[in-house]
């Protein structure tokens, strides 16, 4: 059996969210003695083999749905469903028991389409998954954006899952290289059948659509000793062209226009947060000043955006942005679970609140009890003085 993970690529390789998902897929595969395969849309070189090998993946599928390129949610799902129905030249990897993807906009969307195409259930935002038996997984998934966890049993073949963004720490998720299951230990070069021996799963496209495309060996390469598992050389990437239905291509992403932003909220090292306690739009001047002194960004609660005090792209929380700064200074924010869902990734939370009983005070690392309109100007003055400014 094989666990198949969808990888989203970006110019540098696999996205961080996808590597996390792959880490969780690797854990499942390792514990249940299954093989691990990765699939992505794009050229075979779009994902560095080293990234796959480091997570125990030796099979890569570079997918190209027939038709115009670009992101097309239904076409991607159709191709993924076809691939999982039968791994072309799977080198003994066996049938696909689970299909996983990062719970990004695209990952969630593609798996929802895969669920609709197959009629199978989808478990969204998983944070842990193990095999309970054949065709049965035991999993933990997030509800309320992570404020609540659900333990559940998923009975489906294949199991369709998305992996929550904060499910596994990226680097620590790497399984040891020797964890690669024996079923997959066949020397790749020997296992490559003639190119036309395996028709694509959907069989709509004529044979010959599957080509071995190992980055380190040409089609005529001599069989050689199996490369050590866990090394880039152990990864074999095949290009797979999947036929999709015309209707699958009807909805396609068109060229994106670049937006210019200041310090991005999602990646800022410091976030100065403001809630209802700020009192109105004018009150944010001092938060902006503080954020710029600290080289950070301003983040706000939903009360602030629904009052129209600040734009929604500054909202932190369940229906806003998830932030992961070193320091989150939450001012005049009560700490509702939907807000905390967006700032749990902060290394340190400092609350400034008039109410020592506010939930945020219990959830923060440090607290200043007091009026933000008094504390923040004093803090700005202290920082300016420290910097030797006026």
């Amino acid at each position: 059996m094989t666990v198949l993970c969808l990888i989203e690529t970006e110019p540098g390789g696999a996205s961080e969210a996808s590597l996390r998902a792959l880490g969780m897929a690797a854990g499942l595969a390792e514990r249940s003695g299954e093989a691990l395969a990765a699939a992505w849309f794009g050229p075979p070189g779009a994902v560095p083999p080293g990234d796959l090998a480091a997570r125990g993946t030796r099979l890569g599928y570079a997918l190209a749905p027939a038709g115009p390129g670009g992101y097309a949610p239904r076409a991607w799902a159709r191709a993924l469903v076809h691939l999982s129905a039968r791994l072309p030249d799977g080198a003994g990897a066996g049938p696909v028991s689970a299909v996983m993807a990062a719970a990004t906009d695209r990952g969630s969307e593609v798996l929802a389409h895969a669920g609709a195409i197959t009629g199978l259930p989808v478990a969204a935002n998983c944070v842990a998954v193990t095999r309970a038996g054949p065709g049965e997984l035991r999993l933990t998934r997030q509800r309320w954006a992570g404020s609540l966890l659900e333990d559940a049993v998923l009975r489906a073949s294949p199991a369709l899952l998305t992996v929550a963004a904060d499910a596994v720490p990226p680097a620590d998720a790497v399984p040891p290289a020797d964890a690669v299951p024996p079923a997959d230990a066949v020397p790749p070069a020997d296992a490559v059948p003639p190119a036309d021996a395996v028709p694509p799963a959907d069989a709509v496209r004529p044979a010959g659509a599957v080509r071995g495309a190992g980055p380190s060996r040409g089609p005529g390469a001599q069989p050689e000793a199996a490369p050590a598992p866990g090394t880039a050389e152990s990864v074999r990437v095949q290009v797979v062209e999947q036929a999709v239905e015309a209707a699958d291509l009807a909805v396609r992403a068109s060229e994106s226009e670049q937006r210019r932003d200041g310090v991005s909220l999602a990646t800022a090292r410091v976030v100065v947060g403001g809630g209802r306690g700020v009192g109105g739009p004018e009150g944010f001047a001092v938060l902006e000043e503080l954020a710029s002194l600290l080289g950070g960004a301003v983040g706000v609660s939903r009360v602030v955006t629904s009052q129209g005090w600040r734009p929604h792209n500054q909202q932190v929380g369940q229906t806003g942005t998830k932030i992961t700064p070193d320091v989150y200074l939450a001012c005049g924010i009560s700490g509702a679970i939907q807000h905390m869902a967006g700032c749990q990734g902060a290394k340190t939370i400092i609350a400034v609140n008039t109410d020592p009983g506010a939930p945020i005070v219990a959830k923060a690392d440090y607290a200043v009890i007091g009026d933000l309109h008094e504390v923040l100007p004093a803090l700005v003055a202290a920082l300016r003085e420290r910097a030797g400014g006026p």
């Binding site: 259930p121 609540l148 966890l149 226009e257 320091v327």
Partner: protein, 256 residues
């Protein structure tokens, strides 16, 4: 433009989330109920579309009889019709929910079906896509910018945009279509007084969605993740705490 918006009644939880003793559900004895902000924005978007192009907004929910309140809240925002698929209150999974919604909307001739990107409580991220497939309609999710151009019959279309890695990607879909939206697509209005009065008097169409089929994903129990024990160190109060605050920021390495 005939627009249908699907909304879900969810508990309004504040600073802490509490479970029923059997760990099967959120304890709602102390909480009110609401719909997801995404869905409220979907209703606002639908109202704006019909204000510009004419037509009616229908709001639809699958839930207990009490979910009528959430439908009335949406009527107060400007929706014209409401449909309740009344259950016994047992949570249905996304597959069953999508099937019930599909059956209810199939023959109503909607030009556009709007949803939230995900339900606030269960967050399944899939009901709109399943409904779209069942109806054979094009679909796109997570939308934060929407422009609808109605046309004579099938000639209508929409352009939908969303964020992708800090830039904007857009999709063009023919109508009828299914779109799920995220908060931020608009700033929902507050219900007007006449709106609230109208909503109170409006009739709600109640339908029977039939029995819930079994779901492939079976919940065993819910858990509140282990919250760190109360650990905030109080640095002081008022401006007097600023020197201590500066020291902490310095120790954390964020001062330059």
């Amino acid at each position: 433009m005939e627009v249908c918006v699907c909304v879900k009644r969810v508990p309004m939880v504040g600073g802490a989330i509490a479970l029923t003793p059997d760990g099967q559900a959120v304890d709602t004895s102390m909480s009110g109920f609401t719909v997801s902000p995404h869905e409220e924005c979907a209703v606002e978007e639908a109202v704006r579309i019909t204000e510009r192009h004419g037509g009616t907004v229908t709001v639809l929910t699958l839930g207990p009889p009490e979910a009528e309140q959430q439908l009335r809240d949406m009527l107060a925002l400007g929706a014209g019709r409401a449909v309740l698929l009344a259950t016994d209150g047992t949570e249905r999974g996304p597959v069953a929910t999508a099937a019930a919604i599909t059956a209810a909307v199939r023959d109503r001739g909607f030009d556009l079906l709007l949803f939230g990107n995900e339900a606030a409580d269960t967050g399944g991220y899939q009901v709109p896509v399943r409904v779209a497939h069942a109806l054979g309609l094009p679909c796109v999710t997570g939308i934060k910018r929407l422009e609808v151009t109605p046309g004579a019959g099938a000639a209508g279309r929409l352009v939908a945009g969303r964020e992708y890695r800090g830039s904007l990607e857009s999709f063009e879909l023919p109508l009828p279509a299914v779109v799920s939206v995220k908060e931020g697509i608009n700033l929902p209005r507050y219900p007007s007084l006449p709106g609230r009065l109208r909503a109170r008097r409006a009739s709600v169409e109640v339908l029977d969605p039939g029995p819930a089929p079994a779901e492939g994903l079976r919940t065993e129990r819910l858990r509140v993740p282990r919250a760190p024990a109360s650990r905030a160190r109080v640095l002081g109060s008022g401006a007097g705490a600023v020197p201590a605050l500066v020291r902490v920021l310095d120790d954390l390495g964020v001062l330059r």
